[in-house]
Structure formats: C-alpha cells, structure tokens
C-alpha cells in the first residue's frame, strides 16, 4: 500500500453556488491511491453537488479539481469519464427499457470500438467484441449476484431496487475506473442487503488495480466498516476530517447532525 502513496484526487477551494445557496464552500480534500473515503453530512450539505461538479455535470464557481496529476476542473462529463472516474447516482439512473447487458455496456463506452464503419460493416469483429464483453459483464455481475448474471438479457425495469443498485455499480466498474463515486448506494435497502453490497464492492476492489472510492452514505455502520477516512460536510463546508471514530465523536459533527435533522 504505502509504496504507492500517490494522490488520486484533490479538491482545492472548490465552490459551487445555486442562486443564493452555497452548495459547496471552499471545499478542500485529498484522496490517496486505493483509499475509500466516506463523505457524510446532513441532507443538503453538498455531497451530491461535489460529485456533480467533479463529473462535469455542473461547473465549479471557484477552486480546482486535480485528478491523477491533471487539472480537470470544468472538464466535460465525457472527458472526466475517459480519465477514469465512474459514478452512480443517488436516484438510480438506469435505462429501464434496456437489458442488463445494455446498461452495463453503456458504462463500458471507452473500451468499445465506437467507429461508425466498424459497427456497420465489420460485423464479424463486432460480434467477437460483443462476446468478449459479454463474458466480462457476466463475470462481474456474478460477483454481485449469480442469479442476476443469468438474467443478463432481461430488461432492467423488471428488477427489484437492490438489483438495480447492483447493476448501476457494475456499469460503473466495468470500465476499470481509477475512482468510483458511490452516491448513497444503500438507499432503500435493508441492513442485510447493504452489508452484502459492500462486501461485493470490496471484493471487486481487489480485482481492479488501484481503485479508490468515495462513498456518500447515511448508513453509519457501513461507513465505519469500510472507510479509511471520513469527511464531513455541512452547508457546503468541510467541518471535520479523519478516521470514523474520531469524526463521530467530534462535537461540531454531532451538532451539525442534530441541527440538520
């Protein structure tokens, strides 16, 4: 671990406003290679906004984002993905009409041959690529749930919430990103399901070299179990950073949560 203690991601003074609301206020953070960081804070504290600014959905009003040594502030979403950032969404955003395989392949965009002539005329090569990616998707899905892997050609709309969450995570992981952003993956799940899901994520992390994760979560048990460090946001400002134990006993944090509820 320590031999490659390289900084994967750094926010410096990141700021984003919506009208009068300051959703992110001079937010600084760093994330090392292979780390899992928990990003917590009361509702509306700017967690999702930080993901949105990082992935290029919203532009930053100030500050910089550095990823793997490059300044990626205000890059378009597509370029951020190409650089190796993949995410899930707080409100699941899958294409419900499409099959599981299709949804996972959307996440694999950068590794598929998108050439127009290739796709239309080189059917043999395309077929080989499809089959190759099929087995990879199948393998990945199997880690999360073997039953799900068998339903790979079913439409996503027919699945339960927990399966949809799993597929969203597979969609993010299939392209071997360097940074995975998970926005409340356990929303709408039981404790047992949450635990399973996290185990699966940890298992996959072993497979992908140097994968770092930022986890936004309200479920503190999960945060405590898996994160290397925690960052607490309140009204867009970082109020505390450190190991979960220290953070949980911090006075400011307790106030923020009590005040926020």
């Amino acid at each position: 671990m320590d031999q490659q203690k390289e900084t994967v991601l750094a926010f410096r003074g990141l700021t984003r406003r919506f009208g009068g609301v300051v959703a992110l206020n001079e937010f600084d953070m760093e994330l090392d290679n292979g780390q899992i960081v928990g990003l917590i804070g009361p509702n509306g504290s700017g967690k999702t906004t930080s993901f949105n600014v990082l992935t290029g959905i919203y532009s930053a009003n100030g500050g910089t984002i550095e990823f793997l040594g490059q300044d990626i502030t205000n890059w378009p979403a597509q370029k951020v993905y190409e650089a190796g950032v993949a995410r899930t969404f707080q409100r699941s955003r899958l294409c419900l009409e499409l099959s599981i395989f299709d949804n996972v392949m959307i996440g694999n965009h950068k590794r598929l041959n998108q050439g127009i002539l290739f796709n239309i005329f080189q059917r043999k090569a395309l077929k080989a690529q499809i089959e190759e990616n099929y087995s990879e998707a199948h393998k990945l899905l199997k880690i999360f749930d073997p039953a799900l892997a068998e339903k790979i050609f079913d439409p996503v709309g027919s699945l339960r919430m927990i399966d949809r969450r799993r597929i969203e995570i597979c969609r993010a992981l299939i392209s071997h990103p360097r940074l995975l952003l998970l926005d409340e993956p356990s929303a709408g799940m039981t404790h047992e399901e949450t635990r399973e899901l996290m185990d699966d994520i940890l298992e996959v992390r072993e497979m992908i070299d140097g994968l770092s994760i930022i986890l936004v979560e309200h479920e503190m048990g999960m945060i405590e179990r898996v994160t290397d460090k925690c960052i607490v946001l309140n009204f867009g400002q970082k109020i505390c950073e450190g190991a979960y134990r220290d953070v949980a006993s911090d006075k400011l944090v307790q106030e923020a949560y009590l005040g926020g509820e």
Binding site: T55, G56, I57, P76, A77, Q78, V80, Y81, E82, A86, R87, F89, R93, L94, C95, L96, E97, L98, S99, D102, M105, I106, G107, H109, K110, L112, N113, Q114, I116, N119, I120, R123, L126, K127, I130, Y134, H138, I152, F153, P155, R171, S175
Partner: protein, 383 residues
C-alpha cells in the same frame, strides 16, 4: 416434427396468408367488400391475440429472422407481379415502400435517438425537388437518388445547431418552423415552379428507361411502375439492413442511451452531440433518397405535397408502428398509405382520422402496434 420445422411451416403459411390477403385487398374495389375484408382481418388479429397465438407466432418469427425477411420480400414480389399490368396497385405498393424508407429515417431520429423531427415531409420534399432540378442535367439518375439524400442531410445540418442547443423537446418547434418555412418558401419562389410545382423526369439506369412499360411477349405488357416497385424494394432492403445493423451495434446502444438519459450517458463518455448529429443526418438522408425516387415515379411535384400534415403522417407511421420498431414501421406505412386510398369514404378525412387514432395510441398503447423488443445483438444468441 421438430421445433424448427414447425417454425418454418408457420412462417410459410403466414406468408401465404398475408400474400393472399394483400392481393385480395388490392384487387377488390367494391367498398363494402373492402370493409368486410378489413373487419375479417381485424377479427382474426384480435382472435389470435385472445388465444395467445400472437406470442407463439412472434416467438417463431424471432427465431427465424432470415426466413422471415426472405418471406416478406418474396410476398411483396408475388403481390407486385400478380398486378403486373395494373398501374394503380403497383403505384400503391411503391408508395408504401418509399414511405417505409422515409419513416425509417424518422425512426432513426426519434425512435432510436429521441431527436424529434416534425419536418419529415420537408426533408422528403428536398429529395423530390433535388430530383426535379437534377433531372434536367446529365447527372446519372441513380446518382440523383443519393444526391437527393445528401442535399436533405446538408439542409438538415442548418438545423443542427438549434436542435442540439435546445433542451429537451423544444427542438420540436425548430423543426416545425422549418417545415412551415420550407413549404412557404416553395410557394413564393419562382425558380422552383412556385405553387404550380415542377415536372420530374423518370428514372433511367444505363439507358433502361423506367417510365416505359416492359413488353415481354406480344400480349404481356408489364406496367412501368413495376420498375419503381423493384427499385423501391431494393431501397427498403438496404434501409432495413442499415437500420438493423445500427440498432444491433454499439451505435444503437449509444442512440438509446442518448434518448433515455442524456445526463447518465454523458457521465459514461457518450458524446450526446455526436450521436444526435449522426442520427439526424442519417435520418434526413433516408427521407431525401425516398423523396427523390418518389418524385421520379410521380413525374410531378408541388409544394402542397409537403405540408405540415404530411410531416405528421410520417410521425404517425412511426408512432403507430411503435417507436424504433422496424416491422412496425413497415406495417404502419402500409396501413397509413393504403387504407385511405382504398376506402374512399375516409380519404377526405384521413388527417383527422390519423390524428384521432394517434391520440388513442398515445393514451392507451404508447408502445405502438408492434413494439420494439430488446436489442438482440446477434440473432438467436443468448450468451
């Protein structure tokens, strides 16, 4: 009997049934008989839906795509040759085929990618006018079809900026405005014949003149429309292959992702603009090629053929068939073109009837009559 043999028999008997139906439908003229035939067809369809036959049949069809495609082409040819000396049925068949090509273009745009286009008739019309203008020159007529498509695609690219920049479905108004602009422009413009329109020379491939009948023997004279039926059928086949290949590739997946969720698509590297431009341009190209041949076939075009309601007819075909559904488009093109021609009672009211039917479809069966299924990248492949 093995499953596959059973499948084949089912498809063949369906093809025979459909061919017989089409021939009868095109042949009879007595309004009451036509009406009775349609009622019979409707009863048959509903009955087979009731007894679960539809599922059996569609399962059987999807297992044997090749055979199905071949059977449909053969059926079309048989119907066409049955009427080899009658102008009207052949003209109808060719019209259905060309409307199919144009509707496939629209389907690519909003069935696949969700880029609305309510100026379909305008792009079809650009193809028509290109054929009219180029027919006077020495450009080979087969080229003219392609050029018709290219000009449509090129003119469409003027709209790309507003279409791409507008959010959600506001793009609709851009295309509507363009459709209205196109028609008014043609009417006030003298160079292109004004409201009277233009004559168009017929198709001619290496000296084979499409506009003269084919005399096989002394007493067998084939209508010149047969030439157009065959060429239009070839165009439909090419379009079909193109649409299918696009759908069953990563391009089709990108199109779907763009249609269903632009934000998520962007977060996974999909360049929204790139795919929208591709689908818009290809769609307009298809509409333009169809228009070019259509103009040559009719020999005459006027602005009144390209009104807003004509664009809505193309939209109706896509909706009725089911967004993104190829067989649906073919079926719907047949219904929408043929019914008013055969049932004179509804001819005058056709726009009204279509619009009412579309409202009912959108309220009660938004997926259309033959909904598009899940993507099968490789037919019959299940991992």
């Amino acid at each position: 009997m093995t499953q596959s043999l059973k499948d084949k028999l089912v498809i063949l008997s369906l093809a025979v049934l459909a061919t017989a139906f089409m021939i009868t439908f095109l042949a009879i003229e007595e309004q009451a008989e036509i009406f009775a035939l349609l009622v019979l067809a409707a009863v048959l369809v509903f009955a087979s839906a009731k007894f679960g036959l539809i599922e059996t049949i569609s399962g059987c069809l999807s297992r044997n795509e090749r055979l199905l495609n071949g059977a449909v082409v053969a059926a079309t040819l048989i119907v066409a040759f049955w009427f080899y000396e009658d102008h009207f049925p052949l003209l109808m068949i060719a019209t259905v085929l060309l409307y199919t090509v144009a509707s496939c273009g629209l389907n690519m745009q909003f069935g696949y990618t969700g880029v609305v286009n309510f100026a379909g008739a305008a792009f079809f019309g650009i193809g028509c006018y290109t054929a009219a203008v180029l027919g006077e020159t020495s450009v080979p007529m087969l080229m003219v079809i392609i050029v018709g498509g290219l000009v449509a695609a090129l003119v469409g690219s003027i709209l790309i900026i507003p279409v791409l920049r507008t959010r959600g479905h506001y793009a609709a108004v851009v295309t509507i405005a363009f459709g209205l602009l196109f028609r008014t422009f043609l009417e006030v413009n003298d160079a292109l014949g004004g409201p009277q329109g233009l004559g168009v020379s017929g198709m001619n491939i290496f000296g084979w003149d499409f506009n003269s009948g084919i005399t096989l023997t002394d007493d067998i004279e084939v209508s010149f429309y047969m030439n157009y039926v065959i060429l239009a059928l070839i165009m439909v086949m090419l379009t079909f292959v193109l649409m299918r290949r696009i759908e069953r590739s990563w391009i089709g997946l990108n199109f779907d992702a763009v249609r269903l969720d632009e934000t998520a698509a962007a977060c996974y590297g999909i360049d929204i603009k790139h795919w929208k431009i591709l689908s818009f341009t290809l769609g307009n190209f298809l509409a333009g090629t169809a228009g070019a041949l259509y103009a040559m076939m009719l020999g005459f075009i006027a602005p009144s053929n390209f009104a807003f309601s004509d664009s809505l007819i193309l939209v109706s075909i896509v909706l009725l068939g089911g967004m993104g559904s190829l067989w649906g488009t073919i079926l719907a093109a047949g219904l929408v073109v043929l019914l008013p021609e055969k049932l004179q009672a509804i001819q005058e009211y056709r726009f009204l009837i279509y619009a009412v039917v579309m409202i009912l479809i959108l309220l009660f069966r938004p997926q259309g009559v033959l909904p598009r299924g899940l993507r099968a990248y490789i037919p019959g492949w299940r991992g």
